[in-house]
């Protein structure tokens, strides 16, 4: 009986279509755009999308356009609450201001992770993560 009910991703995302969504990707990027389509693998079509770069309370957007995102790269899909969005204590800044700091953040993180992985691999038998270094 239960098996007859379709429990697919398709069912659960209907109400998100045509809404403003934030998508987290496995490499840590955040995309914001309007969800236009999806399927059972969580492949997504995002329209009018921007990539948002955060540093602390500051953020900036890079216009990206239309994306079809392959499902396996999706971590999370969140519906942006338009009322809540206006009250969030985040400060828009220019891309030029945030990108250099963001690149520094990424590089510092990469170095820290690599060092940690090396020590734990050698001393405690934990595995190093795959080439992307993202633990997925």
């Amino acid at each position: 009986m239960d098996a007859l009910i379709p429990f697919t991703t398709s069912g659960s995302l209907v109400d998100c279509v045509d809404k403003k969504m934030v998508v987290m990707l496995r490499d840590g990027r955040k995309l914001i755009g309007v969800l236009r389509s999806y399927d059972q693998f969580a492949n997504l079509v995002l329209e009018d999308s921007v990539e948002r770069i955060h540093h602390g309370a500051h953020f900036a957007d890079i216009p990206r356009g239309v994306f079809l995102i392959r499902g396996e790269n999706v971590v999370l899909l969140g519906e942006v609450d338009l009322d809540l969005e206006d009250t969030v204590p985040l400060i828009p800044v220019t891309l030029q201001a945030v990108i250099p700091i963001h690149l520094e953040d990424l590089e510092a993180r990469r170095r820290r992770d690599a060092q940690k992985a090396k020590i734990l691999y050698e001393q405690h038998g934990f595995c190093r993560e795959g080439g992307e270094g993202d633990g997925y």
Binding site: Q115, K116, I119, L120, H124, F126, E129, G135
Partner: protein, 98 residues
């Protein structure tokens, strides 16, 4: 093969089956390990455990030390009832029966 559902370990999952309702040790990706009472598992090695103690390994850099050195510190956390996704499991070790 296993019409006799009872004893013996014929395949890997039998070892986990025989550990049901016992305290097991689980090593995970992401520098973590767990001990807890095993209540359920499936073919993906998804687990449901209770009374879990998680140990996370953290590496703290040492001031002035050369790169590639650091102090390894274990941080512990207790969780009542936990689902563990199978793709993160490195190994499951049954309770030691002495």
């Amino acid at each position: 093969m296993a019409d006799v559902p009872s004893q013996g370990v014929q395949e890997p999952f039998d070892l986990i089956r025989l550990s049901l309702s016992e305290r097991v040790f689980v090593k995970l990706r992401g520098d973590r390990q767990l001990t807890g009472v095993l209540h359920a598992y499936d073919g993906h090695m998804n687990l449901i455990m209770s009374d879990v103690e998680e140990t996370i390994m953290i590496v703290e850099p040492v001031e002035g030390a050369p790169e590639g050195e650091g102090i390894v510190r274990a941080v512990k956390r207790n969780l009542d009832m936990l689902f563990v996704r199978g793709d993160g499991v490195i190994l499951v070790s049954p309770p030691s029966r002495t």
